[in-house]
Amino acid sequence: MAKHWWKALAVLLLLYTIIAGFLVKIPVIENNEQSTRNLFFHVPMWISMYTLFTISVINSIRYLGKYDLKKDILASCSANVGVLFGVMGFITGSVWATYTWGGTLTSDPKQISTAVALLIYLAYLVLRMSVTDIDKRARVSAIYNIFAFALLIPLTYIIPRMVDSLHPGSATSPGFRGRDTSGTLMMVFYPAFTGWTLLGVWIYTLLVRYKRLELKNIFK
């Protein structure tokens, strides 16, 4: 039981997020109106994705050190769940953009560079499927993963903050932290991103357990 406390914590934090996320008083910022509450649902998707991709690249590097296939499983599973969270973040962002920017897929730099970063990671999953030899697959995809991570950070974090973008938190439009005078946004935001990240890690451990069983079957 002691090993599972963080799963209960994830559920409790998410319950708090969903209830408080709709009830808490938020500052009304321009035409965002109440959709500012997406801060508790859309933004944690990306934080969860970064966490999972970081786990992935660390395990790829560890794999290249000792050529241990278990590390390759960790790397591939976390990238897989990371893509799930990235896709969810992208779709929810597009829905929000439809009603605040006036277009679902716009030519906004943040949206384009994020789509490119997600496609790079989708290519990682396709690359894994296309190599049938287990050892070769692990080596090639581990090296590709390091390059993918090296592109992820500038594409989704640095470039959108340097250029003019409609997205809050870029060079021209300020983030929400400065407008949050009563501190209620951050009161829900921190539990929200912890909860969603823990949920992502939970799904990732399930996938790892499945892949380990599968690998054991192969070596039998």
């Binding site: 109106e33 959709s35 859309h42 439809t98 009603y99 679902t104 897929l105 396709v126 799904i203």
Partner: protein, 79 residues
């Protein structure tokens, strides 16, 4: 498994330009769905977002469930 995935990516690649071209048109239309989502200070945008997240996670879990059933089936037939 490989075939299904490659079909999926091929369709996606073929559809992407037309999807992008369609989406480039500005969304300022007034359908019943658009009006609902803009009502009450756009709160239904947040509801839609939460629903999308829930559906995606459930679909992913169903996929994982199927994979595990397949593995169980293989193990039962082997020994």
């Amino acid at each position: 498994m490989i075939n299904r995935a490659s079909y999926f990516f091929l369709t996606l690649a073929l559809l992407l330009p037309s999807l992008l071209a369609q989406a480039q048109q500005q969304n300022t239309e007034t359908g019943p769905v658009n009006e609902l989502l803009r009502s009450n200070g756009k709160i239904y945008v947040v509801v839609t977002v939460l629903t999308i997240i829930f559906i995606c996670i459930v679909l992913y879990l169903v996929r994982l469930d199927r994979k595990i059933s397949k593995l169980e089936h293989q193990q039962q037939s082997k020994p």
